[in-house]
Subunit: 296 residues, 2 copies
């Protein structure tokens, strides 16, 4: 165990130095450059206007989830976790969220653990995933509680787990605890058959801390890093998305969440390297995307 | 089980009708009336200025925790849960919180579960309790997760558990779930030897919902009801404290938390019926209380 610690500590320091160096040199590989199209595996809507135009002109249609939604909007929808995490959300609102997710073909609904079972029932047989949150939104509970919350949520039907890191431990430079905490949830997710997104709550972190958190998340085997809870002092920024993409490379996804309220916001995040968007205003974004004025 | 449900449902309806009736009639038994001095068992600082003056003039001193603090301030301190729940709080800040709690003789420190073990070590042998939060601040996780978080926290050294109700279930009129959820945490607390405070997040509720939540908390055997998490859209109000005191009677405590920033705030809450105050600005409040200008 101690050997593993030392290795990760060294790795964190090395990557931190490297990425901070790149940032200082003017951001090679940072937002607005071509590799991002590779990073999102050719699905990049924000930049590939040529591709988008081709799809629209081809006029292809799809059946099943997302019926009636234009192909370009359908592609955008697959980036979006349709999100409702307000504690006062009631059963009717959660039901509506699921109906909208089916209608527009969103990637997932993102809801609190208490609603997982309901959403799993409502979305059964559809491609829309059930995503829930763990240790949310403060991330300041015990790792065994986060792991238990993960297992119970997946058994209730969650397929994606968005966990919050132990921010206080990171601020205290207790990287061993940050690592153990992420690993406990990634491992529980994997064992139960779910994927795991690691929320770093970027608005509370320095760039160096963001890099450290993303490095540890990648080392733990997380499928995504995620910018924000939506309950912190700030949401996703293109700076953070690009920085996180730089740290995790192409193999790990980046989810931009918090304050993504317009089609323009969503495009900016995707252009910066996001492969998933968390949004409450998803229907509004889709309506904007459906307008012919927004296709170039 | 079903019989129990029906009884509680009836009880909730009955008390709701009764208390709402009292409110409509102009608030008999509501804030500013004498029974509140009984409610706080004669320790009422906000109203009993005569008693406070006597203590000050007697010039009594105490030893142990709170050494060097005047008796009147010492009495106020015993109302206060010295609170630091920000997710980015680090080890040094939590350590300082405990030192301040010892210095002023606060009732407890209130911190996230990840810090319970550290606080229990730092406060060992002192009268200052370790209070932590469960299902916090959204209250929207599974009841078994809340119960597990409670057990783990108490085993790490927590003596008081501030849990958040399932607000979404309350809003969906699923009172059975609200009840089960509170009971699971109260029972886990009791079994492990801790007391339980039930946070209703009043700013998100109608008066009727506040009454329902407090009734269920009292029926479940909670030691306190608590107004707010400090992370919601609003903190404690004297209206809510008085309303909650009216519902739970004298046997259950009322903790006013969120936005209590001055001595004046604290006195108002106590006058309205609060028997515990949750505050981050506790040291500032104590410094105000130490000033001779604030003793009448």
């Amino acid at each position: 165990m101690d050997m593993g610690r030392v290795d990760v500590d060294l790795l964190v320091e090395e990557i931190t130095r490297e990425v901070l160096g790149l940032l200082r040199e003017g951001g090679a590989g940072l937002p607005g450059v071509d590799p991002l199209c590779l990073a999102c595996q050719g699905q990049c809507i924000g930049k590939c206007s040529e591709k988008v135009r081709n799809i629209v002109e081809a006029g292809a249609s799809r059946v099943g989830a997302g019926l009636g939604v234009s192909p370009v909007a359908r592609e955008l929808a697959q980036y979006i976790d349709h999100t409702l995490l307000r504690p006062e959300a009631n059963r009717d609102q959660i039901t509506q969220l699921c109906q909208e997710a089916l209608q527009y073909g969103f990637a997932a609904v993102c809801i609190n653990p208490t609603w997982v079972r309901l959403c799993a029932e409502l979305l059964r047989g559809s491609p829309v995933k059930v995503c829930t949150v763990v240790g949310f939104p403060l991330g300041a509970t015990l790792l065994e509680v986060k792991a238990y919350e993960t297992r119970r949520s997946v058994r209730n039907g969650a397929e994606e787990i968005d966990m919050v890191i132990n921010i206080g431990a990171l601020k205290s430079r207790d990287y061993a605890l940050v690592q153990d905490d992420i690993e406990a949830v990634v491992m529980a997710s994997e064992e139960e058959g779910a994927i795991c997104k690691v929320i770093v709550e970027a608005a509370l972190l320095t760039d160096e801390e963001k890099i450290k958190a993303c490095t540890l998340a990648k080392a733990a085997g997380a499928q995504y890093v995620k910018t924000s809870t939506g309950f912190g002092p700030g949401g996703a920024t293109t700076h953070d998305v690009a920085l996180m993409r730089q740290v995790v490379g192409r193999e790990v996804g980046v989810k931009a969440a918090g304050g993504v309220r317009t089609l323009e916001d969503a495009k900016s995040m995707i252009a910066a390297g996001a492969t998933r968007i968390g949004a409450s205003a998803s229907v509004k974004i889709m309506q904007e995307a459906a307008s012919p004025f927004n296709h170039s």
